[in-house]
Point group: C2
Amino acid sequence: MTNISILTIGDELLIGQVIDTNSAWMAQELNRAGFWVNRRLAVGDRREAILSALDGESKVSKIILITGGLGPTSDDITKPLLCEYFDTGLVVDPQALENVKNIFEKILKRPLTETNLRQAEVPASCKVIQNRRGTAPGMVFEKEGKIFISMPGVPHEMKGMMTEAVIPLLIKRFKPEHIAHRTLLTAGIGESTLADHIGSFERSLPPHVSLAYLPNYGMVRLRLTARSQQGEANNEEIDRLFADLKSRVGEWLVTDEDIPIEEALGRLLKERKKTVGTAESCSGGLVARQITSVPGSSVYFKGSVIAYSNQIKKSLLGVDPAILDEHGAVSEETVRAMVKGAIRLLDTDFAVATSGIMGPDGGSEKKPVGTVWIAAGDKDRIITQKHWFRFDRQRNTELTAANVLNLLRRFILSQSGEAGGNDLKN
Amino acid sequence: MTNISILTIGDELLIGQVIDTNSAWMAQELNRAGFWVNRRLAVGDRREAILSALDGESKVSKIILITGGLGPTSDDITKPLLCEYFDTGLVVDPQALENVKNIFEKILKRPLTETNLRQAEVPASCKVIQNRRGTAPGMVFEKEGKIFISMPGVPHEMKGMMTEAVIPLLIKRFKPEHIAHRTLLTAGIGESTLADHIGSFERSLPPHVSLAYLPNYGMVRLRLTARSQQGEANNEEIDRLFADLKSRVGEWLVTDEDIPIEEALGRLLKERKKTVGTAESCSGGLVARQITSVPGSSVYFKGSVIAYSNQIKKSLLGVDPAILDEHGAVSEETVRAMVKGAIRLLDTDFAVATSGIMGPDGGSEKKPVGTVWIAAGDKDRIITQKHWFRFDRQRNTELTAANVLNLLRRFILSQSGEAGGNDLKN
């Protein structure tokens, strides 16, 4: 098994100003290619920290992938340190220079400064990976049998380099182990209850197959992982085990692929040739945003009304003022009326609605912060759910969106009497 | 300076299934309290990896904060390993047991299983931190002068524990160094051009003050950091340097606080007692979502129309069919008409509009993927911008939202002739 360490350089990660999404993406791609990411380490823009990280990681991993710290500004100290660590000096790479000039003259149409020109400098002993999306080149080093590859931290530049150069290079050089994953998504059951329910399955797994529980937004993802050196036999075995797992999960199953709920719903809508719209109060557009994050969603998503104010609930969605007066905006009656209004106004087959109190303020004794009503339906029938989310504003909103997407999915399944659509409240 | 290592445990981080947002939050809070996060390390649910991480981090940091790996399911192996590492055995903590029982009986209203009960077990030698938001308790260990604190990985449980117990404990125990940050956000200028522009300022900084460039969504955040043992003197000095930096940044300044663009815009709207709505095509609700992510935004945000289909652009926003036929949905004329329609329909002072091709498909030679028109204005005047974003669907959408929020901000400033609102195209 070829171990990889991912080393991310930058003070911004250590003071929490930036969330590290690069490492997750890299790990995913490396894993798919059959490599095992052993450690992910972030250190600051500091000489000793970087040198000791390079040393430490090369002791536990064969490959060290480095991102960040290659920008043109003086808080970026990685390049000189790489020279020090690999005992070499900076030289100008002619192709990288050509690239920097080209970007400034033809694309940015800005004069080239000395700071920019330094982007074309590389340590003399490295093999250069050209950057087709930016100015900082990638660099490949070798030392005592270990491979070090340094890439820029800008996500799309790093991703391009990984896909086009780094992963092909690693596959050619190391014959990666075959790692197979199968993932499914469940909803409506907690992690520990699920664990008790499928305990006997888990205990019966062979030692090279493992099961992981990944809870998120009130849903639990289950991931089976098998390792081996024979690609084919491995796939057959994990497929068989996965089929078994699926049947045990039963009607809690949302999707048997590693896709988010919005994609599972999108496939269902596409398959049934139906359209959807949203009427959102407390979710403030996040439900629409989730639906449209799926490429090709314009086939089934037509549009939304974000009715944050009561005025718009009345004027656009036609919610009866008497409903708002009597039951309030956060009520079953209001979300029902919002679904009806959205179907009429947006001319869709289905619609979903949300109304709630996201916090931190706005709660009352009867309707505390986190109280949310959601609804989904068509012109003939509407189902609703009440939730009480006890988290922060951000997470309450995300939970609202995930739950209303799943409510619509179950509504659609219930129309054809399929599993997953049972026990719905009308 | 008291160094801290953050150690995150879980295979899900190493295969990239989950993005680590916990570490960023922890780093931010620790930093604010005057601690320096030295390293952030993630390792898998594997005995050797965890033991060697505990060993390695205790060599470079005085405090090791551990999250994850405490769930009830069998892929969570942290607790037995902590027993091994600290040479102790598991015992049931009576208070933690009471907590688990309480959660199942009173909140979840589900029968308690053996798996759940194991949550109340802790290594005998640790000091227990009770979990007020979930079942897994926190644990404090001491070994050879180093402090190890283990917390659950569920974000809101970890956050509660950090705020209420861990940070107070660390402050009491260590007298943290004073670290002061000042951050500002710029727009409309690239990282390297900005670096050249403020180069002489940067070179004149005293050695204990550093400047970092944090580019994101086409905007660059600048962060000044000063370290010292005297709290007060330090603040005065950094305030003076920050004022100097601000004046040099001039009209590229968006906000002189560490807040996102949607919050800067929100303050401006609140201050001027104005309301806003959105008419979104390609951004699919993200602009509304960003605006409503700010607590209290209901004061200035009334609602939106997401007009993903042309039909809704016409029927709801009143975009003239002739405009769509002649110029297409992705055009200056269309976004202008969308702003007008939104102001009329939503009855707001201002509105913004977006229309573009987010990819991966749908581009043409004349309008390639990433072509986006945005607009902002009031009933009398509308300004527009054309962009060509060359990233993936997700990033193109985020860039669209960030840019249209900034366009509206500049529009509002231009009304009162303030800096930042110049050179706007009418």
